[in-house]
């Protein structure tokens, strides 16, 4: 069994125009490996090739050149798709169905037995907090609700690998935090998660490793810590220190040839503040 969840070799996608001339290079010579059990982030600005990579991995697109494997199988393989969950960038769902019907439809595509299907549908609807609207057609759902039901359909088969394209887009901060918690829960369950986002804060919070794309070319890969750490700078976080003591510490550092860059009160993120206020009420 392949130890990699995802592996690509020289994966390239070129779109051609009417006269079969090369018009856009969506992805160029991508060599990437993603280990099983890790949360991997694909980062980059719009049009950098993240979604093209995901579509190539799922077999939704065919590469111009190069190869890719998902869970040890070539991309698009039916067996691999049985162990895979995908949340697209936007929730492309059948709007005439309700939450129960859409989950039932996707569960049937995985040949899940009726009893088990029912159990999973109930559990997932509860998990994504849509119990109160489970009979309502999706056409009447808000964007956030559609995102949640989209996530539920992505994990209906209890997948080994979950590919999430912009998972927090359209979600309110609480939904966004819940999504992040869920992704961390996946990690605890030893699932592999590929996260595609241009919201850096999301990725920084939860990803083990990230890859940054620009103009269809992979620029850099590594762990978040590796990529963000500044080895020549030190940060202390201290509590209950008087102004005099602060000046003394500053003088001590300078006496040892240290260069004090900033002395400030640490602040939490706006997201943390928002969540603490909402939860208090």
């Amino acid at each position: 069994m392949d130890s990699y969840a995802i592996r690509t070799e020289g994966l390239t996608k070129v779109y051609k125009d009417f006269w079969r001339r090369k018009s856009t290079s969506a992805l160029t010579d991508l060599n990437l490996t993603i280990e099983r059990g890790e949360i991997f982030g694909l980062l980059g600005p719009n049009g950098s090739g993240k979604t093209t990579t995901v579509k190539l991995l799922l077999g939704l697109l065919f590469p111009t050149s190069g190869k890719s494997w998902v869970l040890g199988y070539p991309s698009g393989n039916i067996t691999a798709k049985r162990k895979l969950g995908f949340l697209p960038e936007e929730s492309y769902l059948y709007k005439f169905l309700n939450a129960e019907e859409i989950l039932d439809f996707y569960a049937k595509l995985f040949d899940i037995q009726k009893k088990e299907r029912k159990r999973r549908i109930d559990a997932l609807i509860h998990e994504v907090r849509l119990d109160h609207v489970r009979k309502r057609p999706l056409s009447q759902y808000s964007k956030g609700m559609l995102r949640r039901i989209g996530l539920a359909q992505a994990i209906i088969n209890d997948p080994e690998l979950v590919i999430l394209d912009e998972p927090t887009s359209g979600l309110d901060p609480i939904g966004s935090r819940e999504m992040k918690d869920l992704i961390l829960e996946f990690k605890r369950q030893k699932k592999t998660v590929v996260l595609c986002s241009h919201l850096l804060a999301d990725v920084q919070d939860i990803c083990d490793r990230i890859a940054i794309f620009n103009k269809g070319v992979l620029q850099v890969t590594g762990t978040v810590k590796e990529l963000l750490s500044q080895n020549d700078a030190i940060e202390f976080v201290v509590k209950n220190l008087s102004e005099n003591d602060i000046q003394a510490v500053k003088a001590f550092v300078e006496s040892r040839n240290g260069n004090v860059l900033s002395v400030d009160h640490p602040s939490s993120t706006l997201e943390d503040l928002f969540i603490s206020i909402i939860q208090r009420r």
Binding site: L61, K81, F86, P88, Y92, L109
Partner: protein, 622 residues
Amino acid sequence: MIQTIAIHTLRESLRKKTLHVLIGLGILIMAVLPVIPTTDEPDAGVKMILVVFFQVVVLLCISGVILLSATSLPYEIEDKTIYGILSKPVSRLKIIVGKITGFALLSAILLVILSLFNLVSVYYRASHLPEEYRGILKARKEFAASDFSIEGKLHHTREGIAWIAGGRSGVARWSFSDIQKTHENTSGFETDCNLKLESGRGLSDTIPLMIRMENDRVNRGKSEVVTAKVDKPFILKIDPEMVLKNSTLNITVFPILATDYMGVTHRDIKVFSVQKSFLSNYAKAVFITFLKFLLILIVAVMGSTYLSAPVSIVSAFVVFLCGHILEFIKDFSLLIQHHDMHEHAVPAVLKTPNILLVYMDYLVKKPLEWICFVLPDFRRFDSLKFLLNGIDIPLETVGVSFGYTIVYAVICLFISCSVLKKKRVFLKSWDAERETFFLLLLLCSILLVNVWIASFRNTSETSTFRYDPTESIPLLLLGGFRGIAVDFLWARAIARHEEKKYYELLTVNNLIAKLQPNFPAVWIFQAWNMAYNIANEWDAPQNKWKWIYTGLNFAKKGAVKNPENGDLFFELGYMYFHLFDQRVFKYAPYYREQLKKRCGRRQLRGVALLAKAVSFAYPEIT
């Protein structure tokens, strides 16, 4: 998996308003039909209900199914819901088969609901019919003749039809050796006679025939005199005593009068056992119609794997239409070749060698012939003719239609899968560009052809005020399609002429004249064609005269409709002058005699004046 996608497709279609409107419209039509009065024969009402269901309602539903099936995949690709399915463990083949199964289920549901309504209407209307007209609610099984012979003198044979003269000089005999009760419900036997009859007594349309039926085992027979109408088939009941196991039923026919002629072939007399199984026959007809639905929706889904929604709707409709007019396409391909017609009838435009026509042979004729091989032949699924004639649909017909659909389905599936397999899931701009390019090319070529055709139109000035109200209604209904209808009919007329099917040609000519009443060339061309070319095909002066008279009448009708056009009067005068000239036509005295019988003195004087005027104005033609 296929089942899941099929049910999903069905559920999606059932929630669409298009379908609700269609079902409602279909039921409304079915509900109104039984109370619409008909002025024709008593069973015309029942026939009308069947025709409207199998042609109008079925066409409505097929249009609905085409709209749904041709747009399903393109819309899923466009709004990207297809990602949801493609990222699951489902192969593309299963998606296509699932879609087709879903639409097939939808078609079946539609057909079952509407045909139930239709059946109720049929039975309601039929319940008011007198007993002898309820034959339409029966299904008859056909027995072909096991032997056919002509006893006595054969007058002549033409195009496989044996002609015998009347007065016992020749007798046609059909033998049926395997007639027996094949079904529990068999209630009796009857025979359909479809003989070609011609009267030597002017244009009489009734011909007395002597018909004798006898069984070789019981050694007795029954004779009767039937007054048959020219070109109208008739039905005779068979005495049940004449039908016995392991015996032969012989039917002999001859015209009683020596001046009459009868043309016969092996298949002109058929014997039918009458069964009371209309329901099973109706079910077979509905099944064959279902196969028609299946075939077109497979074609629509196949097209939608590559084309965008509007283009795939149009292409499915084009295939459906062309599949019904394959005969016309063949006729059209026949048109693009040199004609060896008689000098008189060839208009100047056809006489000049046209390089375009030569190229058309390679550019249009051959591709058209190939298209006929590729397109599905929807005429194969015509089950209405069986129901209207009360004939039991043979199981072989059902089997062949089923096999045809399956073979076509497999080929279409193969093409769809290979296309969808290679196709990028979403349409990028260059796909749309390519489609636009082809559409523009198509539109340009249609425009060019129309401009080319329009250059011939300087003679076709129409003046609406002279339109007969009964004729102008179909013209108004046809609207811009009149040109297409006329092209279709011209191609058909020339094809029928080449095939020597003159009676069919006459009908087509009348239709053309109705559609283009103020285009003198139509009247002149067709009048000449009948009076000279067709008349020339016959040997007997009676038959020649029949066509000459029809041609003259046709030209007269044209002249009345176009009183300001001198050409028509000239042609009419010329025909009167030329056709009755003994120096040119040896039967001219006979024609004159016949003309005298048919026209009054005043009319004859007018004719003579016209002919004289022509010879006076153009002395060189004498």
